[in-house]
Amino acid sequence: MDHDNLSTLYRQAILEAGEDPHNFGDLLRPTVSTELHNPTCGDVIILQLKISDHIIKDIKFKGQGCIISQASASIMTDLIKGKSLDQAKKLRIAFSQMITDNHFIDNDKLKDALIFKGVRKFPQRIKCATLVWNALEKSIQHVEEANG
């Protein structure tokens, strides 16, 4: 029972992505860079996006955090690369619904990010999984405001 519980949160793919995350590092001349802190634990994430014609051409993150936050950043950045800003915004909303709503129906567009569904059983850890998505939302807001 205990072990099932643990495996609900720490799915193998999450453990792997957390250990060796994709898209970790810096972009050369990013369009926007956003730093977000998780004030309850001191974790920090820096998300960088390269955007042209409303398309996220490249995306990287760095920072320090738990397995959940690192894995979430790895999987989110894989998913978002090549998407339009509108698609990215929709995915962020879908992720947020998945992680808070018990009646959530799987949204296939979330692809690998669906493995974070189990996090909603751990309310203390929701912030870990959403930190990078919040950084994405902030980045898009910033770009849209700058473009008027």
Partner: protein, 409 residues
């Protein structure tokens, strides 16, 4: 096997599900309450509830005398010289904020210095930072020595006649060390600096004598010493409290109100505007009675014994990194640590599933985290209701953490 003779006094432990024993190891955040405190609150609300000071009737008088009796209990408990030196607040944070904003706010200048330490809790750091920004005074930090204790030599080196106030925690909420507050106060007074002590983690763990320390202000919360949340104490030397500006004006702190001006009551009421946390204060009284009954030296002894055991068990796990002294006896019921290569939040989630309740995070001490160059850590904190089974449960769970994250099974 170390068994707690106090555990049965705390109904929290009876109410737990039999299936999974919970090891509550977060008393530095807040303590569980003994039945005598809970019963006192029920008694107050069933028999004595009325507002204090203002009623002519019997119930109000009874509530008032019970409330004021706690002021005497606190005075004795920390050995203040006068009862008027005891001001009730909602906790350590409010006490420290009142000291900063009510006393020091207009008394510092741009060429003055404020001396605190890198181990301070945000509530004994952020207000001083605000004071430094407001006055232009320099905020200086005392570092740690090689054993991650307060570096007395560094303190002496940073002390000079420009230092107007030294603010220091009595016991660190992360490192668990007991600071030499009496020595610090003597040294600071030689340079004319006032001394403020944050007693949040000391109170209820050891006897505190403010006259012996000779500090100018001392702040603590009730809830870390078996009392309800929302009640705390601001102790100050009378001549300083007399000069303190109230941060709240209103009912019961005035003696005469005219159209354009008001005269105020004497201490302590001048600093206690509005209806007080009456039940909280009365609960604090019951908590002090309980602490006195248990005897503080025996409490200190018991916590030390259990801390030593926890320390030895933790260092037997090679992946554990302990912060603070390498000597177990320098940890006052608090041990902060990390597991090499595993983020503290991941550790804490597994521990929670295993029924072990410990804190993971920066413990409101981000400057200390920066100083130690860690993002966060785990902290276990013990009190008299903990016993050896709690420690065993933690150690078994930590092995489970290592199995799960290191071997992925």
């Amino acid at each position: 096997m170390i068994e707690s003779p106090y555990r049965h006094d705390f109904p929290f432990f009876d109410s737990q599900k039999k299936k999974l024993k919970r090891a509550y190891l977060d008393s530095a955040a807040t303590t569980q309450k003994p039945s005598s405190v809970i019963e006192e609150l029920v008694h107050f609300y069933t028999k004595d509830n009325a507002n204090i000071y203002r009623g002519i009737y019997a119930t109000s008088q009874r509530a008032t005398s019970k409330f004021e009796a706690v002021r005497d209990k606190v005075k004795t408990f920390i050995n203040a010289s006068e009862r008027t030196e005891i001001i009730f607040t909602k906790g350590t944070t409010q006490s420290l904020n009142w000291i900063v904003f009510g006393y020091f706010w207009d008394r510092l200048h741009s060429d003055d210095e404020i001396l605190i330490s890198v181990m301070e809790h945000h509530s004994n750091l952020v207000p001083w930072q605000q004071l430094a920004i407001h006055t232009g005074a320099k905020l200086n930090y005392v570092n740690l020595d090689e054993d991650q204790q307060l570096d007395i030599d560094d303190f002496k080196a940073k002390l000079n006649s420009r230092v107007k106030v030294v603010a220091l925690t009595h016991v660190s909420n992360v490192l668990g060390c007991l600071n030499p507050v009496t020595q610090i106060t003597t040294l600071a007074h030689k340079f004319g600096a006032k001394v403020v002590i944050d007693g949040a983690q000391a109170i209820g763990h050891m006897s505190v004598d403010v006259q012996e320390i000779n500090c100018d202000f001392y702040a603590f919360s009730g809830h870390k010493a078996f009392a309800p949340t929302g009640v705390g104490v601001l102790y100050g030397k009378k001549e300083l409290l007399e000069k303190m500006t109230p941060l709240e004006y209103g009912g019961e702190m005035i003696s005469d109100v005219n159209y354009q001006n008001t005269s105020f009551k004497e201490l302590p009421l001048r600093l206690e505007a509005g209806t007080q946390n009456i039940s909280g204060v009365i609960g604090l009284g019951a908590a002090l009675d309980y602490l006195n009954k248990c005897k503080l030296n025996e409490i200190e002894c018991y916590i030390k014994k259990l801390t030593k055991l926890a320390f030895e068990q933790l260092i037997s796990i090679p992946e554990v990194i302990i912060y603070g002294s390498k000597n177990a006896s320098f940890h006052q019921g608090i041990i902060s640590f990390n597991i090499k290569g595993i983020h503290p939040h991941d550790v804490a989630t597994v521990l929670d599933i295993k029924g072990v309740e410990i804190r993971a995070g920066h413990h409101c001490a981000q400057v200390l985290m920066r100083y130690l160059k860690i993002p966060a850590c785990l902290r276990l904190s013990l009190h008299i209701y903990n016993d050896e089974t709690d420690i065993q449960q933690l150690i078994i769970a930590l092995h489970e953490v290592l199995r799960f994250f290191k071997h992925g099974s």
